[in-house]
Symmetry: C2
Amino acid sequence: MTRTPNSSFSGVSRRALLLGLAALPALSGPFLRFPASAQTPTDPLPSWNDGAAKQAILDFVRATTDRASRGHVAPEKRIAVFDQDGTLWVEQPIYTQAAYCLARVPAVAAEKPELKDVEPFRTVLSGNREAVAGLTTPDLEKILAVTLTGMSVEEFEDEIGIWLETARHPRWNRPYTELVYQPMLEVLRFLRDNGYKTYIVTGGGQDFVRVYSEQIYGIPPEQVVGSAGGAKFGYDKDGKPFLTKEPKLLLNDDHAGKPEGIHLMIGRRPYAAFGNSVGDRQMLEWTAAGPGTRLKMLVLHDDSAREYAYGPAEGLPASKIGTFTQALYDEAKKNGWTVISMKNDWKRIFPFE
Amino acid sequence: MTRTPNSSFSGVSRRALLLGLAALPALSGPFLRFPASAQTPTDPLPSWNDGAAKQAILDFVRATTDRASRGHVAPEKRIAVFDQDGTLWVEQPIYTQAAYCLARVPAVAAEKPELKDVEPFRTVLSGNREAVAGLTTPDLEKILAVTLTGMSVEEFEDEIGIWLETARHPRWNRPYTELVYQPMLEVLRFLRDNGYKTYIVTGGGQDFVRVYSEQIYGIPPEQVVGSAGGAKFGYDKDGKPFLTKEPKLLLNDDHAGKPEGIHLMIGRRPYAAFGNSVGDRQMLEWTAAGPGTRLKMLVLHDDSAREYAYGPAEGLPASKIGTFTQALYDEAKKNGWTVISMKNDWKRIFPFE
């Protein structure tokens, strides 16, 4: 199968998108697009500036893969986990999955007209951005329930695929799937090249992320751990079995739910963990508490020019999402976790730059 | 690391067992022990007699891996799932995990003396085999709750490791971990050699099976899907995080729970599924319902001389566990699933033979 390197989701037909996603070679995709002249060919992290963060990654890989090192880790134990929103791709101004759920409301309301006069659906349908921004958590949960459940697992995958093809981020006017961080794609590939299994461990929906994880990160669906609802087995009128997505939460994969989800889905403690918010704290603590060499990293959003700035460093404003509190910053500094400054550590932010 | 090929769990020290399990190369273990003279070196299934079952496996692998075949499956989609009890190892006279739970009761009662005078613990402690055999499902659930939950995930792993080292199957007087089916070990390896990811999908406890799956089957913990309870994150008095196994069932991985568990834990429909009882029916149906070439196989226990005989074929007596009903047999025959006769299709049953 051939692909135009820069097409991402935008240049491919709907059929190709829906049928071909999982068939793409795991190593195709934007993370192979290094600028030809940027660095020596042997630098595995060409989009990283020299500094403590880049060095921490290089040192960790050397220590855990050199058989002569005290920190050597057997290949089958090499597990690395990555938060997604704000760690692997942009999470502002709202989570991509939330953008999907809001965009999906008109289609759901067309099928279930009784929702049109009921809040919070009436507000979403009004198109009043300010009112939508003011929706409460219970409101959002109602929206998630009707847009993420009730359909077969295949229908769900199709709906997301169609949306990803056409939706654009308001700031860059590009598909959300292009707004991945080039330096992190390099880390994913560098770790895999050194025998690590890379996992996403996200507070977002497991089934949502699985739709595109293989194409944009090279991470197969079975290595995506996320908040997960039940899928109920049943038969259609012809006796053909199918699975329906249910509004029953099995795993709330955020905060303490992240190490709990890692145990459920992986069953091994990671050697490397990357996050960017208080929702990743327990995952980093659980990773750090294991013996041997462990890599603990937090992405700090301090680059309003190239991306966004929100968090504790140098008095950045707090954000409703992706909260990187001063307490988390202090815990990182106290325990020797590495804070990645997007502004200082990253030469490039996006593959398309 | 060197290992005596036939040691399994019996010949290794407790420390080596507990610390080294996951560090063993994935392809070591009993499934590499082929008799040198049994077959031509090119036969990937030397313990299988020629026949429809062996041929179905060979045909499936050829059809799904030959790039010129209409049934070709992209490597990253090659998922094969295996029930464990009665499919990969012996499940009679009781499930190995049940044997563990019963054996664990005295240790639990020593820690919690109040249990000694309470049923069903009093019956188990009495050693009256007939009374133990008559315990009801609610009784067994109480025993499972106290023996499988309440401890940290590491303590649980240690306790099982110690038990596996010393426990012996009553019929063969060998460690349970040696009572694996040599023909199925060959299938696992043959599929892996052809790019398949092999998963266990068991009604048994996920954490239980994960302790030994890598050593005896070459299947890593992250590829074990089983009935799973919650693991709760917390901190000890020194602030060190830990996970405690909770008596809260997240996934009842049997019957309809098997395809549901496959969706939760893998997120892809398998191309091959192996089972041996009504608990595997929905998993086989879900596998069969996908497009393309799919392999559906059921192990029939019809060999009382070399193993056990229970099930519908030729009027075999029914069994309380591993129920292979006449209805399942009829469904298999009607839908072209392959029934494996242990008596006729398997040249050898165990690696130690």
